[in-house]
């Protein structure tokens, strides 16, 4: 039981990050009807931008010293005598990193926003009105472009990035088993859930949300209502790429940074389809259940089996519910 | 020939059909009229098998076909056209019409891959049949190699009729064959429909908004409103029916 709880919590934590990634795919789909196969690669760019602003730039000679490591005297005082991995020590070590973490996040979010806008302008806008197939394949082409560019820009150097939150270990006993949790993971989960909730509220209850929903339902009619559809499109892409940047930063701290981060996009795509492409709630449920299922598989069957959990799950769901758990059924006009 | 009894159909909470009963008599033209949303197209879709009614039965040639799939109904001799033209835009007129012959051919996968032999013979036979029996009949020989997109609306409607005829149907369902045509085009289409009935003795079921045409060429009319059958009878009977006037025609007609 204790073990179960441990892995359930682990699953929920990764589920929340899946949800954060999924929100980008769903938002872009809702607004533009494009399913972004390359979303994972936007996230990878977010991760690399975070790395650039949180590690590379503070490490430059011209960068002020406090940027790389902010250590006022009172902090050094407190740090003295604490073990390397003591809880307070971890918090203090994190605080020293705050300037570069902030720079990293701001840099990642703004660069990714620009990237999202550029992608939307150059590749997606000409696609308005094209077939589903063309849309899918353009994003598939985008995968190659993004992943190639990433390896051109960031040489494949081993990279380590600072955690967004203090990574204090949390240990407690439950049902006779020791439960281990990372502080940073819990904060990451909260960040992911807050962003997710914020976006859903925005779409449900604001006038901007009405524009998105109207565009989702009928692009050209939305246009003829005076809603600037291109603006909605580009906002959706910016929304996706900025949430992707946060997700990328989190993934970079959690799993290490590498071009293979892009592959996350595919499992999340499976999750999104499982939940129903246009349903935030469905995707949330799917993300959380896949997260938990994956953790359980990891526990019982080992790492490599966990990798195919989202794919098996989506196939099972699609066979019984062709439009996902909560997806809108497309009404066919005959 | 084709009969529908106590047909009920609903989507979610919306009831599209509520107890429709009628029979299309062999060799005659039966019309279905009613305002949009009355369930005419839903009725057609139920007859051709896209929707499964949740109550009621459909009989065709004395066999119950309620549960079988659209393609099986086609091989039993049922053909139809669509309100929004449903031709295959990636093919020429000829290929579109050839598709009408699908159920009559037997070529399987492996002989198709080889092509020589039986498959080739069968294809050439089909081509001859279509040229002589359909293309000539509907006077579309000059456009047989055109892609569909190059044809005018009226011609597209005619090609769709040609495709249905290539199936050699015993019953033909026409969904708004003259919608959006001017009076002259309508007259032409009406003529073709009458010719088909005369020459092949095909049973025809027709949904149409053009009251004049329906009144003129149908021998029996069914009126639907909100999924309910509010009247049925000969054109004159229906035109006088107060319920029909109230719900559909209004005083102006």
């Amino acid at each position: 039981m204790g073990q179960f709880t441990q892995f359930a919590i682990n699953g929920l934590m990764s589920g929340a990050i899946y949800a954060l990634i999924a929100v980008g795919i769903v938002s872009v789909y809702k607004a533009t009807k494009v399913v972004n196969f390359a979303h994972g690669y936007l996230i990878m760019f977010g991760a690399y931008f975070y790395f650039t602003f949180a590690v590379i730039i503070p490490g430059q000679e011209w960068a002020p010293e406090w940027l790389a490591s902010w250590k006022p005297s009172w902090m050094l005082e407190m740090r003295k005598g604490l073990g390397m991995f003591s809880p307070l020590g971890a918090v203090l070590d994190w605080m020293a990193n705050i300037p570069r973490i902030l720079l990293g996040l701001v840099g990642a979010v703004s660069c990714n926003a620009i990237l999202g806008r550029v992608v939307e302008r150059t590749l997606m806008r000409p696609l308005m009105g094209q077939s589903v197939f063309a849309m899918i394949m353009v994003t598939v082409g985008l995968i190659s472009i993004l992943s190639g560019s990433a390896s051109l820009i960031w040489t494949a150097d081993a990279a380590f990035v600072p955690h967004i939150a203090p990574n204090t270990p949390i240990r407690f006993e439950l049902f006779g088993t020791m439960i281990f949790l990372f502080g940073a993971d819990i904060v990451n989960m909260l960040i992911a859930l807050l962003i997710f909730g914020g976006i859903v509220t925005m779409v449900k209850f604001t006038k901007a949300g009405i524009a998105i929903r109207a565009t989702a339902e009928d692009q050209s009619t939305a246009y003829s209502m005076g809603i600037s559809v291109p603006k909605v499109f580009s906002n959706a892409w910016v929304l996706a790429s900025t949430t992707g940047a946060v997700a990328g930063a989190i993934l970079a701290t959690r799993n290490g940074i590498s071009p293979s981060l892009g592959l996350f996009g595919f499992s999340v795509l499976a999750i999104v389809l499982m939940g129903g492409l246009d349903s935030y709630v469905g995707c949330f449920i799917a993300a959380m259940s896949v997260g938990v299922l994956e953790a359980m598989t990891q526990w019982k069957m080992g790492g490599e089996w966990a990798a195919i959990v989202p794919y098996v799950a989506v196939l099972v769901v699609i066979i019984f519910r062709p439009h996902g758990l909560m997806g809108q059924k497309e009404v066919e006009r005959i | 020939m084709l009969s529908v009894s106590d047909l009920h159909l609903s989507f979610g909470g919306i009831k599209a059909l509520r107890g429709v009963n009628f029979e299309a008599k062999k060799g005659e033209i039966t019309g279905v009229i009613g305002p949009n949303g009355a369930g005419k197209t839903s009725l057609f879709n139920a007859i051709s098998g896209f929707y499964t009614p949740h109550k009621g039965r459909i009989h065709f040639n004395n066999a119950d076909i309620t549960g079988i799939s659209p393609d099986k109904r086609a091989s039993l001799g049922m053909a139809r056209t669509f309100q929004n033209i449903a031709l295959f835009r990636g093919m020429t007129v000829l290929d579109n019409i050839k598709l009408g012959g699908h159920t009559r051919l037997n070529t399987g996968l492996f002989s198709a891959l080889k092509y020589f032999g039986s498959a080739r013979k069968e294809e050439l036979e089909l081509r001859r049949d279509i040229e002589e029996r359909v293309i000539d009949f509907l006077e579309i020989d000059h456009i047989r190699k055109y892609p569909i997109t190059m044809l005018s609306y009226g011609l597209q409607k005619r090609v769709e009729l040609a495709r249905a005829l290539a199936m050699r149907p015993s019953v033909l369902l026409l969904d708004e064959p003259v919608a959006g045509m001017n009076r002259e085009e309508t007259a032409d289409m009406a003529r073709f429909i009458l010719d088909v009935q005369e020459q092949y003795g095909t049973t025809i079921l027709l949904v149409e908004h053009d009251m004049h045409m329906v009144m003129d060429i149908c021998s029996h009319i069914v009126v639907l409103n909100f999924g309910q059958q509010i009247a049925s009878g000969t054109p004159t009977e229906v035109a006088k029916n107060p319920a029909v006037i109230e719900a559909y025609l209004g005083v102006a007609a």
């Binding site: 394949m137 066979i319 | 799939s69 053909a79 070529t107």
Partner: protein, 355 residues
């Protein structure tokens, strides 16, 4: 000059090569392919073999995606199934005379691929477009995963791969690339012709009908169940054949060869070449295989083979691959086939009109 296309009977009108240009092009290409191994060097033969193997698979994907309109992003898995079946059956029927083994093994490999194709195709009855794309993607991940599992490694070799047999056709052992070239080219031409034949009959027409408007196909008596699955079976079978040839061509196969990249390459070649066109796969495969090679050669000669620059080659190739795909989708959605058609038409009409 405008060439008259006078036909005396229906059979002449129904031929594939129904005009001079087409005849010239096809016979010319075949002549070239026959002479190719005589003057080409080892490396060119090697590339030609690889192209032939990929071509067969792309023709298969064309049947499914180009003609039937069902999107698959997972056909690499069927190539894997074909390749692994070839190895597994060859090992299984060890006792048979080697000269006839391929005649047993390859049809079996194709059948296994086709059957699994039908299973993977089952969701296509309920889901379309995007959902199908992801379903096939998921299926291909799962197939690759299963091949890698320790559980099946006695047959598949697991993640470390497995050695493949040398094909022996009635005593002719094809142990050089040039000999394989002959086999691959002959099979590639046959499969292309077979695919073209398909579209002269009701089967192929039914596929196109399903692509253009599935409900309207249904009322014409085309069973969606039967034909969608048939399309999946054909395309998977083609990929199975391609995999079998791949297994014979390479001395060893690894699961990694059949990953996502392969599946995407298949679709990309199709898009670049021209979807739903007979020669589309042919043009597409040439571009998809040659362009990276040209980039590599030109980059390495431009930088004098410097190692410092070598690491930029792969990313550039990747970016160009993506750009090609995007370019064709946005600017020339009907692929190179469309460009060649335009050129042919222009030649045909010259000097009267352009376009």
């Amino acid at each position: 000059m405008i060439n008259g296309n006078l036909k005396a009977d229906y059979s002449a009108d129904e031929r594939i090569l129904n005009n001079r240009n087409k005849q010239f092009f096809v016979y010319g290409s075949m002549f070239f392919l026959t002479l190719f191994p005589v003057f080409a060097d080892d490396y060119a033969v090697l590339m030609a073999c690889k192209m032939g193997i990929l071509l067969i698979a792309v023709i298969g994907v064309n049947v499914l995606t180009g003609y039937t309109g069902l999107i698959s992003l997972g056909h690499g898995a069927f190539i894997a199934i074909g390749a692994y079946s070839t190895v597994i059956f060859s090992n299984l029927f060890d006792g048979l005379p080697t000269g006839i083994l391929p005649f047993v093994v390859v049809p079996l490999a194709i059948s296994v691929s086709a059957i699994i194709g039908i299973i993977v195709g089952l969701p296509s009855l309920r889901v379309k477009g995007l959902y199908l794309a992801v379903a096939t993607l998921a299926a291909s991940f799962i197939v690759k995963f299963l091949i890698e599992q320790d559980l099946f490694s006695p047959w598949t070799g697991g993640i470390v791969g497995i050695d493949t047999p040398v094909p022996n056709i009635l005593g002719w052992e094809l142990d050089t690339k040039r000999e394989m070239y002959v086999l691959i080219t002959v099979l590639a031409i046959c499969t292309m012709l077979a695919a073209q034949n398909l579209f002269r009959t009701r089967v192929g027409r039914a596929f196109i009908a399903i692509r253009d408007r599935d409900y309207s196909a249904e009322i014409l008596g085309i069973s969606l169940l039967r034909y969608k699955l048939m399309s999946f079976a054909i395309s998977a079978g083609y990929c199975g054949l391609s995999g079998a040839l791949g297994a014979y061509f390479y001395a060893r196969i690894l699961p990694d060869q059949f990953g996502l990249n392969l599946s995407l390459e298949l679709v990309a070649a199709l898009i670049v070449g021209g979807m739903g066109r007979t020669l589309g796969p042919f043009f597409g495969v040439i571009i998809i295989m040659l362009v990276p090679e040209l980039i590599k050669i030109s980059m390495s000669s431009a930088t004098g083979g410097s190692l410092d620059w070598a690491r930029y080659t792969a990313p550039v190739q990747e970016i160009v691959f993506g750009l090609l795909l995007v370019f064709f989708l946005l600017k020339e959605p009907l692929g190179i086939n469309q460009i060649t058609d335009r050129m042919l038409r222009a030649i045909n009409r010259w000097p009267f009109a352009r376009g």
